[in-house]
C-alpha cells in the first residue's frame, strides 16, 4: 500500500509544486514494517521497504498498525483524521529533525493522506 505513494503523489501536480523546495528522505514505520521515502524537489523518487540495518533519514514517523489503519479509513473517526490528531493521542511519534517535517507540514499531511481509502491521485 505504502509503495503506491510514489505514483499517487507524483500524479498530483499541485502537491508536487508546493513541495518544490523539499528534498529529503524520511522513514515511515507502521507496526513492524518500515519504508524509506525519498523526495526530490517535491517528487517521490523512491519508496524502499525495510527491514533496514542502518536506515538514514531526516525524520521518522512511527505509528501502531491499528492507529494507521484508522487514519487510512475513507472517513476516519475523530482523533484519527489527521497526523496532528494522532500525534496528540501519542498514536504517532515524530522523531528526528522535525524542522523539515514542520516547514512542509501541509505537504506531508496531503501526501500521506493519499493513502486514505478513496483518496485517489
Amino acid at each position: 500500500m505504502v509503495e503506491t505513494l510514489q505514483q499517487l503523489v507524483n500524479a498530483d501536480t499541485a502537491l508536487v509544486r508546493r513541495g518544490r523546495y523539499l528534498t529529503t528522505t524520511f522513514l515511515l514505520q507502521i507496526g513492524a514494517a518500515a519504508w524509506l521515502i525519498a523526495i526530490f524537489e517535491g517528487r517521490i523518487v523512491s519508496v524502499t521497504p525495510g527491514p533496514f540495518v542502518m536506515p538514514s533519514s531526516s525524520f521518522a514517523l512511527r505509528a501502531e498498525a491499528e492507529a494507521w489503519e484508522k487514519f487510512c479509513q475513507h472517513r476516519p473517526p475523530p482523533g484519527s483524521n489527521d497526523l496532528m490528531a494522532l500525534i496528540k493521542r501519542r498514536a504517532l511519534k515524530a522523531e528526528g529533525d522535525l524542522q523539515v517535517f514542520m516547514a512542509n507540514l501541509r505537504y506531508f499531511k496531503e501526501a500521506l493522506g493519499k493513502l486514505r481509502q478513496g483518496a485517489g491521485a
Partner: protein
Amino acid sequence: MSVRFEPITGRYMHLELFGKEHRIYVEEAGQGTPLFCLHTAGADGRQYRALMNDARVTANHRVIAFDMPWHGKSSPPSGWHNEEYQLTSAHYTSMILEIMSALELDRPIVMGCSIGGRIALHLALDHPERFRAIIGLQAGAHVDPYYDLNFLHRPDVHGGEVAAAIVSGLVGPDAPDGERWETLWHYMQGGPGVFKGDLYFYKIDGDIRDRVAEIDTRRCPLFLLSGEYDYSCLPEESLAVAGSIKGSEVTIMKGLGHFPMSENPQEFSKYLLPVLEKIGRRSLNAKLSHRD
C-alpha cells in the same frame, strides 16, 4: 453588472488598553440583543462573517466582532517590534470588558471560540453580571501542548503556512471546501508569533481547571457547543467542564471541528439558533417576572 454588498459595517476604534493607545477594528451587523463574538487564536473577526450575514440571527441580534490587537485589521500597539507578544488571562479579560464598555453594550451575550471559549469560562466565573448569557464554543478548561510551539515562530519555518497546516485537521470532515480554506487562509495571514502568543494563554496562562466548577449559572446562563472532530478541545473536555458546572448546557456538534462558525456556518446555525432562542425566552421571562 450588479454587485452585492454584505450588511456588515466595519470601524476602527481608538482606545487606551494597558496604558497604550490601541487601534481596534470592530465589525457589526444587525439590531437587537448584542451578541459579542470572540475569535480563535491566530485568526480574526472574519470568522463570524457568516453569522453577520445570517438574517435569522441579525433580525434580532446586533452581532459584533472585534479583531484583537495584533490580529486582523487591528494594529499591534506602538513599540511592538521589540516585544514578544503573549496573551494573558488578565489582558484578555480587560480588553473584552473595555471594548464592551466603549461600545456601550448592555449585558451582551458573549460567544467565544477556542481561546474565546476559554476566556468565556473566565468571564462566567469572574464577571457574570456583565453578561446576559455566555456561549463557549470549543471551550475546555485546559489544553496541554501537543507539539513544539517554537515551530510557530522561527525563521526557517513559514509562520503562516505552519499555523494553517497545524490547524487544518481541526476542521471537520463535512466543511464545504470554500469555508474550510477561508478558515485556513485567516491562519495563513497571522502576523509573526501571534498564534504562538495566543497559545500562551490557551496552553499555559489560561488554565482554569481548578476554578471552573465555581461558575454559578444562576448568575449567568452558560451554554457550551463543541465540534465532534476537534482534537484540540476534545468533546469529552467540554463534557467534563459541563459536568462540573451545575445548570450549564452542552451539545456536541456532529461532524464539526474546532471552527464551527467559520468552517461550516450552515451546520453550526442548527445548533446556535436554538440556544439564541432559549436565551431570548429567558431574558423575556426575567423581564416579565421583574415587572410583576
